[in-house]
Amino acid sequence: MTRALLSLSIVALAAMMLALAVGSVTVPPSDLWQVIQGDGSALHRTLVWELRLPRAVAAFATGGLLAVAGALMQVLLRNPLADPYILGLSGGAAVGALLAMLAGMGTLLVSGSAFAGAMLATMLVFGLAHGTGSWTPSRLLLTGVVVASGWGAVITLMLAITPSYKLPGMLYWLMGDVSYARTPWPAFLVLVVSIALIMPLARSLNVLARGPMQAAALGVAVRPLEWSVYLLASLLTATAVTVAGSIGFVGLIVPHMLRLVLGNDQRIILPASVLAGGTLLVLADTLARTVIAPEQLPVGVITALLGVPMFLYLLHRSR
């Protein structure tokens, strides 16, 4: 199992190298090595350190955040279809971001507004699902799905009334685009800190996956654990959405692919999700900016085009 994590780390590192090397100007491996050592030509140094590295780190952090958030939500709701996107978080974030764009605000405010929208969506779903009755996974999921379609309608409405010159930026945001990222390091920090926080809880999550009663009988304080996991997953998603707009379904397929191959021990699945989700998005973003360069494709599209066949293959092959 540690071997699986090690191989995933190597793949992740290789994907990063690839992302640093290819683009409008290819940096050959020998030159890349020089740049990493602090040498190399000025052009290569600028390309690698100032343009490609921040973007690759942003892609990795976004993928990692979304995959972990998905893995957490699936255990929390004990439903393999759970995903922060299905619960309407990205809808809330999108409405926030589009509002800011409509008002003509700058990138920073768009990000802040997206984050606020995601957290608002979280509170809305959680508050409504709690209601007057009990807090059950199916109720939370159903509330999330309905609220998500509500956000969807609002987004469509906003697009319909937006002057056409503003539309491309908005559509790109909705399709997910890492090139918005200016400073990837806060998101990366959130990823590292939250993994450090969640790892000690991973075994409790394994028990929680067997149902709340069984978990309580085995000594898990169920309610506090559920609250922290829900809040953490929301925070992770909000951060990811803030960095890269809405990139669907990484949170759904990455944890599942890993479960098909590695089993269902969260102590492995959570760190593996970081590595695999990050790698998937780094590769997707590298493709997105090279396939029809100098034009760029939305990374969300590439993620889906890469992820769907991979997922279907693994599912078909599994027991």
């Binding site: 699936q74 255990v75 004990r78 439903n79 393999p80 000690p200 809880l201 075994r203 409790s204 394994n206 028990v207 996956a209 067997r210 149902g211 009663m213 069984q214 309580a216 009988a217 085995l218 000594g219 898990v220 304080a221 169920v222 479960r259 089993g263 269902n264 021990d265 102590r267 027991r319």
Partner: protein, 255 residues
């Protein structure tokens, strides 16, 4: 050795009047069987005793401390429960399932060590499912899954064992095997408290019996004094024929 005591306990069954307050003491070495018709509240009682459901009134004490004031982890070291229904949304192997019994004994940073593994292997062996350790739970038969659940409790190794119909889905041989295992555990100092549907098992293996009636009435005591045909006929609303063979009571429903 642990003791589980109820003080004026009334379990919370929706839409039922309060019923009879329970004042029982479940001690090491005893095997309790709870008998009653469907809907009498056997499972609710078991969950209340484990502290998973709030009581309507009264309280449950574990070693003289009110259960609801104890941390779940501390409770789980003393008291374990086999549920009647189990969720398995995500596939897990038999070994992984048995090993979650070690959860209360490990700190957040620890992972299962060789001795935890050994305890799990022992338990799986005792329940005749050691040959299945690498199989996925959802590929097993109902009876095999039931035995894995009991093996998980055995791996948890608490002093007080609560079981909800432990012989469900089991073939005759394994029913006897499980009941003998429970008897041996009681002999080694555990306290066993289980819901049963089989009067003959209660008669043969239980030291104490609790009868729960649909209307909330309850009575309890040593098996000999509780398993009288008149009380049982009233309990199940079913006429019974009772036989004695080699000092063993046998009950069959009358036609």
């Amino acid at each position: 050795m642990s003791t589980l005591r109820t003080r004026d306990l009334i379990v919370n069954i929706p839409e039922r009047r309060d019923g009879f307050a329970l004042n029982m003491t479940i001690e090491s070495g005893q095997i309790w069987g709870v008998l009653g018709p469907n809907g009498a509240g056997k499972t609710t009682l078991l969950h209340t005793l484990a502290g998973l459901l709030p009581a309507r009134s009264g309280c449950v004490e574990l070693n003289n401390a009110p259960l609801k004031e104890l941390k779940r982890r501390a409770v789980a070291k003393q008291l374990g429960l086999v549920f009647q229904e189990r969720q398995d949304t995500f596939p897990a192997t038999v070994m992984e399932t048995a090993l979650i019994g070690r959860h209360p004994w490990l700190s957040p940073w620890e992972s299962e060590q060789g001795e935890d593994q050994a305890l799990a292997e022992q338990a799986l062996h005792a329940l005749d499912v050691d040959g299945l350790s690498n199989r996925l739970l959802n590929t097993l038969s109902g009876g095999e899954r039931q035995r894995v659940a009991i093996a998980t409790l055995m791996t948890q190794n608490p002093h007080i064992w609560l079981l909800d119909e432990p012989t469900n889905h089991l073939d005759l041989h394994h029913q006897v095997k499980v009941m003998n295992l429970l008897r041996n555990q009681a002999k080694s100092g555990k306290a066993v408290f289980m819901c049963l549907h089989d009067l003959n098992m209660a008669a043969r293996w239980c030291s104490h019996v609790l009868l729960l009636y649909t209307n909330g009435d309850a009575c309890w005591g040593e098996t000999e004094s509780m398993l009288v045909p008149e009380a049982l006929e009233r309990l199940y609303n079913q006429r019974l024929i009772s036989l004695k063979k080699d000092g063993l009571s046998v009950f069959v429903p009358a036609p």
